[in-house]
Amino acid sequence: MTEEKAKLKKQTRRILQGFGKKRGNLIPILQRLQENLGYLPREAMLEVARFLDIPEIDVYGVVTFYNQFRRNPPGKHSIRVCLGTACHMKGGYITLDAWKRRLGIDRGQVTPDREFDLDTVACVGCCVMAPVTVVDDKPQGKVEPTKVDGILLSFKLEKEKQ
């Protein structure tokens, strides 16, 4: 475990080298870290606080304030159900329920096999394709419960192929 911690620390330090020690860089730093590590582990947050010479709570406060930051490792595939107005009125909440049912997890969680993580997003601006689900960063239009099954099936087939 400590070995892993040391590794995270090292990775974080390497990424931090590309940034100036300015408080204004805090959010870009956290974004870059999350891009590389997949999430923001405690060790990384501590390193950032040390690097910018700000209280640890300030880093933690920013991480917990913004919806995009996550403090747990993500799944292999990310499922983001859009809950914008158009999506909601066209049944985005029903789609979300379908994902929850099929994956057996609530929003903000990861499946036990770490294959999928499920979350919602405020609006991706694809309102004309409502209801939208962003699957692995690709927005997919008109995702209704039957299409949820279709998407999961395609993942399953792909996995079997490998």
Binding site: P28, Y66, Q68, T85, A86, M89, K90, G125, V128, E144
Partner: protein, 637 residues
């Protein structure tokens, strides 16, 4: 001194322009050009697959005509859209196109001579062969200014933008004194398109005269309103128009540094904007001594991190400073004390996109369009139950009816119009009786809504007004930053009341509690989020109070939407019995056949009310119905 500098700027730009124009000509050069609409909405509809299919088919036939991925033309209902400009033909736009149609277009039109009229959406120019977009009835109401380039140029190539006249306004502005630029913008009467409608020229002037250095310019691309996608479309389709607007604004106010704040939920917009900045820097249109003049300006792209409140200017500044995005009290306003306490102008994406047009053709020309208090055009994002979903740019003062029924072609599937939700979580739901109101900054306030940034969701008879009010409250409650007590706790209380309503558990006196709470939240909040959060509730209460009352008194949802108040039921007399469509599609296996009579029965204890069976039941039977209240379902025999 000034004259020499001027000449150098003009000649420096002329070289760049010449090269861009020759590149643009070369692209055409007698060959057919294929353009695929590849903004986020197009991609969600499968534009990338279409693009691949076209490239594959061209290769198969050994053709080498250019295939360009362009932005969004605004005809989102027909995505993916493909435009083919073949010499001898007008540029023809096709949609919706799938990979198979795309291959056919290449074979029969690009290679052969059949323009495949059955897939045509419209032509871009007037001609004798196919109807053009200008012949569409909606054209009479539209006026494209900032959407003009969208979908017609490659957003990833600065040369396309320059060849279409881009950055000419910057050169013209650099020849003027900063004060003259501000005067021109003031003359245009342009008001901020983010929603508040503050006069742009005035804002610039205050900032120019403010003490403190350096000055900052921020472009607010944190389009957080759910249901709005105008800024996304512009940043994805024509990012340079925003960059040029920022450059002119910076020159006018004397800013040295700028930030372009884009939401993280728009990855494609982020990517294309980043590329646009890099390209502009390479051509010396951005950075130190722009085009050899003594004007220097740099723009940094800043990605938001998913907080709706950051669209509020003081919260946005906090976010840029690396803090949680909580707003602070105004005054002092950011124009005198903003980012790091320095004078800062914050303009919306659309506001800045207008600037080049104002400088090019003069403020007076711009002011010709629009109403007394609101000049120019407004961009709306049409979504929901309207036929022509997508983007519409219309002169200020156009009525809601014209936008929804003439530009948007009315309601889908022949249903009845119920309301239009305008202005996002800060706006309201307006009923049929208000449709003849002209839209400008002031007009909708009286009806309890506001123009806002331009998101418009059209609702029909199947949409429950209590549910939409609950939805917005849930949204604002979750997005409240928590600084002000009334916004943090008041919205939560309101949400709980609304939750009860949609579950049929409300009490009639709760309606008064809701109004009282709404007034308190409005009065007790610092920023726009809290001040306007009760609007969706108040406007639906005002126009659709009867729907609230039915929910409370009868435990029934008249629009058949609230899940706790409806049940799905298969009418035995209508059920075809040998058909299994509903059984096969049910996602929770709740449907089975009657042991002897074979008609289908829904097990109400298993049903999750997803509505899949209703869509699966063939229209000639229409045996699946929704009933409200659920007690209407007869006990199965």
């Amino acid at each position: 001194m000034k004259v020499i500098k001027r000449q150098s700027v003009v000649s420096a730009f002329q070289g760049i322009k010449k090269q861009a124009e020759s590149q643009w000509r070369e692209l055409r050069n007698g060959k057919p050009v294929i353009m695929v609409g590849g903004a986020t909405c197009g991609r969600a509809a499968g534009a990338l697959e279409v693009l691949r299919a076209i490239k594959g088919e061209l290769k198969k036939h050994g053709l080498s005509c250019p295939v360009v991925e362009v932005g969004c033309m605004g005809h989102c209902y027909a995505e993916p859209v493909v435009t083919i400009s073949k010499p001898g033909y007008p540029p023809i736009c096709y949609g919706p196109v799938n990979p198979v149609i795309a291959q056919r277009l290449v074979r029969e039109f690009v290679l052969g001579d059949n323009p495949c009229l059955e897939f045509v959406l419209g032509a871009l120019e007037k001609n004798d062969l196919v109807p053009s977009f200008a012949d569409f009835p909606r054209a009479e109401f539209e006026k494209r200014v900032i959407l003009k380039n969208c979908g017609h140029i490659d957003p990833e190539q600065i040369e396309h933008y320059i060849a279409s006249g881009g950055y000419g306004a910057l050169v013209k502005a650099l020849e003027m004194e900063p004060e003259e630029v501000i005067a021109e913008v003031k003359r245009s009467g342009l008001r901020g398109r983010g929603g508040a409608g503050f006069p742009t020229g005035e804002k610039w002037e205050i900032c120019r005269n403010a003490r403190g250095k350096p000055k900052y310019l921020i472009c607010n691309g944190d389009e957080g309103d759910p249901g709005a996608f105008m800024d996304r479309a512009i940043l994805e389709s024509d990012p340079h128009s925003v960059v040029e607007g920022m450059l002119i604004a910076a020159y006018a106010i004397g800013a040295r540094y700028g930030y372009l704040y884009v939401r993280a939920e728009y990855p494609l917009a982020v990517q294309r904007t980043r590329l646009a900045l890099r390209q502009a820097r390479k051509l010396k249109l951005l950075g130190r001594n722009i085009l050899g003049s003594d004007f220097s300006f740099n723009i940094k792209l800043f990605q938001g991190s998913g907080a709706f409140v950051c669209g509020e200017e003081t919260a946005l500044i906090a976010s840029l400073e690396g803090k949680p995005g909580t707003p602070y009290h105004r005054p002092p306003y950011p124009v005198t004390s903003g980012l790091y306490g320095k004078p800062t102008v914050i303009n919306n994406v659309k506001t800045l996109a207008f600037i080049r047009h104002i400088i090019e053709s003069g403020g007076k020309m711009f002011a010709v369009t629009g109403t007394e208090g609101s000049k120019g055009t407004a961009v709306f994002a049409l979504a929901g139950k309207v036929v022509n979903t997508g983007l519409a740019e219309v002169p200020m003062g156009t009525t809601l009816r014209q936008v929804i029924f003439d530009v948007g072609s009315g309601i889908k599937e022949g249903k009845r119009f119920k309301a239009v939700q305008i202005g996002g979580p800060s706006g309201g739901c307006l009923p049929e009786s208000t449709l003849d109101l002209p839209i400008d900054f002031g007009s909708l306030t009286g009806a309890g809504a506001m123009m806002g940034s331009g998101g418009m969701i059209v609702l029909d008879e199947d949409d429950c007004m209590v549910e939409i009010a609950r939805y917005f409250l849930e949204f604002t409650q979750r997005e409240s930053c928590g600084k002000c007590t009334f916004c943090r706790l008041g919205t939560k209380q309101m949400l709980e009341v609304l939750d009860e309503f949609t579950r049929g558990k409300g009490r009639i006196e709760d309606l008064d509690t809701l109004v009282a709470l709404a007034e308190d939240v409005k009065a007790g909040s610092l920023c726009g989020l809290g001040k306007t959060a009760p609007n969706p509730v108040l406007s639906t209460l005002r126009f659709f109070r009867d729907e609230y009352e039915v929910h409370i008194k009868e435990g029934r949802c008249p629009a058949l939407m609230c899940r706790d108040l409806i049940a799905y039921y298969i009418v035995p007399e209508k059920c075809e019995r040998t058909c299994d469509a509903c059984v096969g599609t049910c996602t929770v296996e709740a449907i089975s056949s009657h042991p002897t009579k074979r008609y289908k029965i829904i097990d109400q204890t298993k049903c999750v009310k997803c509505g899949t069976c209703l869509k699966a039941c063939p229209p000639q039977y229409s045996a699946v119905v929704k009933l409200s209240p659920p007690s209407l379902v007869p006990a199965s025999k």
